[in-house]
């Protein structure tokens, strides 16, 4: 995997101080106010976001939009309790008022002093491309126009093409009563292509996308506008000839890359520390026990350069890391933020994330993937007598408490006597988190990460994530087709 760059990211302190008139003294006053009713810990999360989106539709650049927002969220912890208030007005009066509001989660005299701030140097996983985010709109338009042309040229049954580009630059500053002080500039962009194909009475769709925390030069190869356009068009054309998906339990081979959403749903969420602290997860109490076949090792890694799910620091100011979740089938650890690590006495894995300044941070995933094994992907397919080969998926969902998870195949094929045969229509796969990975009998040597399209939702908060996986074989999982 990639190694974080050594040069530290520059501090953003000055940006916030100059742009919003914030001073170190004001940060200390706000934290002091936040702890005035006896809280154990307080933090301030300043956020300033600029987002841009461009869209081509019917070969016309129809849409262009830009938005900016800024605000501060103030959190106070008192035991297991969290008080939270936010404001989009960064004047001292409003910040102090928000601090006072959040403070009331505790009741009593102030007991915790505010520590002097220490700013540790950050990793620099996504150097903001020089000039790249001064928005050369023409270069960005060229990406979507190229995608549009390539998708149309793919096949004359492609009847509708939409391509869109979006990017955001998020600047954050975090100051906490324990002395933590961190800042980060987080670029994120994404190119998407959406295609409708039609043949007689049959209409189908296909889509593809890619992106990450990197500049426009990332859109080459499989992530080039042409590569993504062909992928979207190919998916739509393929579906024109799809047969109904089978129904019931069977052998399933998952292709490399985005099918790693299996891990995100089957185990990732269930290993977030908050659910385990409250004993509401199907994985509660299973640390040290076997939850997967011995071929399975799963990690969550926030330190991969340029990836969509990566962060120099999490939204509590802690550095991100590579965390082993499952090693050789044994459950090793949870993903934790400050609150859960304090209450559970477990390590803080730098997993505290939030959607925006309006949201309370929670343990979240970053880039979650299974390590490569020894099997040849071709052997894996050959080993299946009768089953399904699923290579692309839409979204997934999990019920943390009973462990049941689903993920929906958008490109899959029947396997008959070790050979890939007919493409099948959309079907949802369903399984049980603590059991599903026990049926992994083969793991390919072809680990691949997704192209940078994942967004994870939890308690109404969306954050960008990545997934990855080599080709794997599940000896059984339930395929939810119509079976006819």
């Amino acid at each position: 995997m990639t190694i974080p760059a050594a040069s530290p990211a520059p501090s953003l302190k000055r940006y916030f101080f100059e742009k919003f008139g914030i001073t170190e003294r004001l940060l200390e006053r706000c934290l002091g106010e936040a702890l005035s009713a006896g809280g154990d810990y307080a933090d301030l999360y300043f956020e300033s976001v600029t987002a841009t989106a461009l869209g081509v539709d019917e070969q016309i650049v129809k849409s262009a939009s830009q938005g900016t927002s800024a605000g501060c969220g103030i959190r106070v912890l008192a035991g297991e309790r969290t008080g939270y208030a936010y404001t989009d007005n960064l004047s001292p009066e409003r910040l102090l008022h928000a601090a006072k509001t959040a403070a009331l989660i505790a009741s009593g005299p102030a007991k915790q002093p505010v520590q002097g701030f220490t700013e540790a140097p950050n990793a620099d996983l996504y150097p903001v491309p020089l000039g790249g985010y001064d928005l050369d709109l023409a270069a960005r338009l060229e990406l979507i126009l190229r995608a549009d042309r390539a998708a149309r040229a793919f096949d004359n049954r492609v009847v509708q093409v939409r391509a869109s580009y979006s990017e955001e630059l998020r600047r954050i500053l975090i100051a906490a009563s324990d002395g933590a002080f961190a800042s980060d500039t987080q670029p994120l962009c994404r190119l998407n292509v959406f295609v409708i194909a039609k043949d007689g009475a049959i209409t189908t769709k296909g889509s593809a996308g890619g992106g990450g925390r990197a500049g426009l030069d990332q859109f080459v190869g499989s992530k080039s506008p042409e590569g993504l356009a062909r992928e979207a068009a190919r998916g739509a054309i393929l579906q024109l000839g799809a047969v109904p998906a089978p129904a019931g339990e069977m052998e399933v081979v998952l292709g490399p890359g985005w099918p790693g959403i299996l891990l995100h749903e089957a185990v990732g969420h269930g290993l977030e520390a908050d659910f385990n602290r409250k004993k509401t997860s199907a994985f509660t109490g299973l640390i040290g026990q076997s939850v997967a076949s011995s071929k399975v090792t799963v990690v969550d890694n926030g330190t991969m350069a340029g990836r969509r799910g990566s962060l120099n620091v999490d939204d509590e100011g802690s550095p991100t890391q590579e965390t082993v979740l499952i090693e050789g089938g044994i459950l090793k650890g949870y993903l934790s933020d400050k609150l859960s690590s304090r209450l559970m006495g477990c390590a803080n894995t730098g997993s505290g994330r939030r959607e925006s300044y309006q949201s309370i941070p929670m343990p979240r995933m970053t880039n979650t993937y299974m390590l490569a094994g020894d099997d040849d992907p071709a052997d894996i397919l050959r080993s299946v007598k009768h089953g399904l080969y699923a290579v692309n998926f839409g979204g997934g969902q999990v019920d943390i408490t009973n462990g049941k998870f689903v993920f929906s195949a958008s490109e899959a094929y029947l396997i008959e006597d070790g050979k890939i045969t007919a493409p099948v229509r959309d079907a949802t796969l369903i399984g049980n988190g603590p059991e599903a990975l026990k049926h992994v009998s083969m793991v390919g040597h072809d680990l691949k990460l997704d192209e940078g399209i994942g967004t994870c939702g939890k308690d109404g908060q969306s954050v960008p994530v990545g997934v990855g996986m080599p080709t794997i074989k599940l000896d059984k999982i339930t395929v939810g087709g119509t079976g006819r």
């Binding site: 008080g83 939270y84 209409t203 339930t478 939810g480 087709g481 006819r484």
Partner: protein, 470 residues
């Protein structure tokens, strides 16, 4: 909490004047048309877990959005910075972006004669949502959880009880003379208990009540007890073999099917041909007893406006009632101005508007008209079937109609609900499923903007243990 959110001095500022001023600035900067939207909101929420306050949140925010037209080109911007500087950047940014887009012959604001707003008080706002003092709000959350925990000794854990309140204000103004605004309010109480059976298997479910007025909320005790009942009935869940049986959708899941019909009948899917309902206007698409209505003007029996009621849509056109499907025949697509022009039709006043971007298509109060059978009567009629109470995942393809989702519920045997079922999927195709609605319940109740009575649909496949033999 002893103190309410800052009674924002800005709410004293006239947001309608602000929106009109922004429109005027854009016109002065050279726009041929402009439209501004201002949103302001505040929220309070408290969650009590195992008797202790877990989270308490209280805040407010505002935002301003602008859409400009330069002839047939358009662009949009948004900001949370409502200072003169922020507004200047909003206008300049929109004008600059307008110069990179291209002419779209169908772009533009509605015609002047089309604008309007429903008259009279639609009862969308009640100031009583913040009438409880801080400690009482916490008490409401606690009562909901306590009621759930008290129902049965197998309920041993909880994700808590919660109480929420929010108010919002939306203002829209454009260069063709429309200025309008309205306020909305919301209050809610919910509970999410966990139960554990003798084998250590855990289950979680929940229930809620929400209303525009605090006075219209159900009691925390009623909500907590229902949440407990729903969690307990999941215990002992098991899989069933793969088979084809009639599916009975409980109202809380049937509503998602109605939502899919709305999406498939939305102008944006239709003009692209990206819907299994494209080109089907005026034809039979569903069982004869099926009527679906989208009514943005509806009042609830409590006297409050419906959850989806508003005086005007996201483009300033007066709200209206649209029959989507009438006795099985597709009567109307759901359209905003752009999609109506693409199809050579009239807007059904279903424009939705966020802060940035072009208007989308939004539902008002969307519902399936009730039938005459009770849910018991529908279940009693089945020798075998699957009563579905919750769905998982995103396996609904509006283009092909293919439908495949994870499902949880209760097995029906000889007209009775028996054991709980989990880890199975249900699959079919929406086009066929709509034709195969064989029973519609009388139990239509608006707990949100989308509502359906109990529905029975035949011909779907349940996938579970074992592979199908057909």
């Amino acid at each position: 909490m002893a103190e309410a959110a800052i009674p924002s001095s800005e709410s004293a500022v006239d947001l309608e004047s602000l929106a009109a001023d922004v429109v005027a600035l854009a016109m002065k900067a050279g726009a041929t048309d402009a439209e501004a939207v201002v949103r302001e909101g505040d929220e309070f929420s408290v969650n009590v877990r195992m008797g202790q306050v877990e989270t308490l949140k209280e805040s407010g925010s505002r935002g301003l959005g602008l859409r400009v037209f330069l002839g047939k080109r358009s662009a949009s911007t948004s900001t949370s910075d409502l200072t003169a500087d922020g507004i200047r950047q909003l206008v300049n940014g929109a004008m600059a972006l307008g110069n990179v887009t291209e002419e779209d012959p169908f772009a533009g604001l509605p015609e002047t004669a089309e604008f309007g707003s429903l008259k009279g008080d639609l009862h969308l706002f009640y100031d009583d949502v913040y009438s409880l003092e801080g400690p009482e709000r916490i008490e409401w959350a606690r009562r909901a959880e306590t009621a759930a925990l008290a129902v049965d000794p197998r309920i041993t854990n909880s994700d808590g009880g919660s109480f929420d309140a929010a108010t919002g204000r939306m203002v829209l103004a454009n260069s063709r003379g429309f200025v309008g605004g309205y306020r909305t309010s919301y209050a809610g109480v919910s509970a999410a208990p966990l139960a554990k059976d003798a084998n250590g298997q855990m289950q979680r479910d929940g229930w809620w009540s929400s209303a525009r007025s605090f006075a219209h909320l159900e009691s925390p005790e009623a909500v907590g007890e229902e949440a407990a009942r729903r969690t307990l009935r999941r215990l002992g869940a098991r899989r069933v073999p793969t088979q084809r049986v009639p599916i009975v959708f409980a109202p809380e899941v049937a509503r998602s099917l109605i939502g899919s019909v709305f999406e498939a009948a939305s102008g944006d899917s239709i003009w692209r041909g990206a819907s299994f309902l494209a080109g089907r206007l005026g034809t039979k698409i569903a069982a004869t007893n099926l009527t679906i209505v989208d009514d943005n003007t509806m009042m609830l029996p409590t006297g409050a406006g419906g959850y989806g009621t508003s005086p005007f849509d996201g483009e300033g056109l007066p709200s209206q009632r649209t029959v989507v499907v009438e006795e099985g025949v597709l009567r109307n697509y759901l359209l905003n101005t752009y999609t109506a022009r693409k199809l050579g039709m009239k807007s059904t006043h279903n424009a939705s508007r966020g802060l940035a971007g072009t208007p989308g298509i939004g539902r008002g109060n969307l519902y399936l008209e009730p039938g005459t059978l009770t849910s018991d009567e529908i279940i009693r009629d089945l020798s075998a079937g699957f009563y579905v109470t919750s769905l998982m995942g995103f396996g609904t393809n509006i283009v092909t109609g293919d439908y495949s989702r994870g499902a949880t519920g209760l097995w029906i045997e000889n007209g009775q609900l028996t054991h709980a079922v989990e880890e199975v999927t249900i699959a079919g195709n929406l086009a066929e499923m709509l034709m195969n609605v064989t029973a519609i319940g009388s139990d239509l109740e608006f707990r949100g903007a989308v509502a359906s009575p109990t529905l029975r649909i035949d011909g779907m496949t349940v996938a579970g243990a074992e592979e199908s033999s057909y």
